[in-house]
Amino acid sequence: MDRSSRRKFLSLACRWSILGLGAAPVLSSIFSGCKTLEMLAESGPSFQIGDMVVDTKAMAKETLVVTNSVEDFTPEQEYYIGRTVGAMILQKYKPYDNPKADRYINVMGQMLAQASDCPETYGGYHFLIQESDEINAFAAPGGFIFMTRGMLRCCPQEDAVAAVLAHEIGHVQYKHGLRAIKQSRVTSALTALAIKGAKNHGDEDLAELAKTFEGSISDITKTLIVNGYSRSFENQADLAAISILQRTGYNPNGLVTMLNQMKTRLKPGSQDFAATHPSPDSRLADIQQYIGKYSTVKSPQARQARFKASLGKI
């Protein structure tokens, strides 16, 4: 693709993006995940969409100039967003405060995160159980992951707990939290930063950044607690979970077991998982396309024993 057609392609992509059509979703799904544009430029010289050959190296460079996307936040900035989103989630859903159970899910969670497509985040992955009886789980950007006792009660064995954690790791891997930030705020944050990138901000810069930060936290928290992600994001996280479970040697049917349990426990019209997630049935249908017919999860005795010892009284 020569320079002028490349520009034309990018300009069209931007226009489609404004209209919410075509190229932008295609590009964002190609670029989603932990892989940044610069990594993409590394991976190969070109790819094809229809009869159009796209020069990835040049496009990655130019896209960075043309648009500001959540991919442009550094892992360090993602970490600070995640810390505050996590603190906001804990405002509503208080910690359970059970060191033994927390340690168990942290060892398991670390292992699962290491097997994901995004094993390294700025501050690493951290997991915490929340007191609530509601069925819910949350992933804040950068790897702060939370799940309620109500959610863990949907898990009759370790493979099902692993499925819950792996699904949340999937949301982190695909930066779904950051994608909830309004584009105007992303642009405002990254444009201001590109020009005035000082470590210690002056009063005026700080006031502007602080306002954008607060808005971004509100966008993400509202999506996590009130509105929920789109079905396609949930599907992406489920697929990431299946792949993580397979890589670590868990039975991916742990996810099916958990969803089946959830179906029997969810209260229609409640404010929890039912309000923010697609129905278990629709998720089950999507999942089974990938892992085939359900087979009962048989946990080895030692695995079941440690699960019971850590979460048996949850």
Binding site: C34, K35, E38, M39, E42, L64, V65, F73, T74, P75, E76, Q77, Y80, A87, M88, L90, Q91, D102, R103, N106, V107, Q110, Q114, A115, D117, C118, P119, E120, T121, Y122, G123, G124, H126, F127, L128, F144, A189, L190, L193, A194, I195, K196, G197, A198, K199, N200, H201, L206, L209, A210, F213, E214, Q246, R247, T248, G249, P300, A302, R303, R306
Partner: protein, 140 residues
């Protein structure tokens, strides 16, 4: 051809093989520069100090940009006109978090700090895999 990259996370593992099951030989820190010599899937074989620190790192810990840890005025000027430099601590940072905390004193960060203090060693993970009779197949 060798390509220079930077560690973009606080601390990252260097492993003996291109998999999360690979033994950790050392760790590198935010801003450290490495020479990438080879790639396998999402894993890069790197040299961190002229042959003394060699091993595999996951691409999620690496950036093509040079990361300036304590940027001065000239770095800021250079960063404004270049997309090859990242200034550590810019943008959403500790200072912005502190500003948020002062305006929202009811939001408690105690448990977030506590979460970050839980550290899990590679030995604990290995024992967890063994005890649970898990047979990992490795990553991408």
């Amino acid at each position: 051809m060798q390509k220079m990259m930077s560690i973009q996370v606080k601390k990252s593992a260097v492993r003996s093989s291109p998999s999360f099951l690979g033994k950790i030989v050392t760790h590198l820190n935010y801003g450290d520069r490495v020479a990438v010599q080879n790639a396998k899937g999402s894993w890069y074989f790197i040299d961190g100090s002229k042959g003394k620190t060699e091993g595999w790192m996951h691409s999620s810990s690496l950036s093509l940009k040079k990361i300036v840890l304590n940027p001065g005025a000239s770095d800021v000027k250079q960063a404004a006109s270049s997309d090859e430099i990242t200034l550590a601590g810019k943008g959403f940072n500790k200072q912005v978090e502190n500003d948020f905390k002062s305006k929202n004193p009811q939001v408690d960060f105690m448990w977030i700090n506590k979460m970050e203090k839980i550290t899990i060693s590679q030995n604990q993970i290995q024992s967890f895999i063994k005890e649970g009779q898990l047979s990992p197949t490795g990553g991408k």
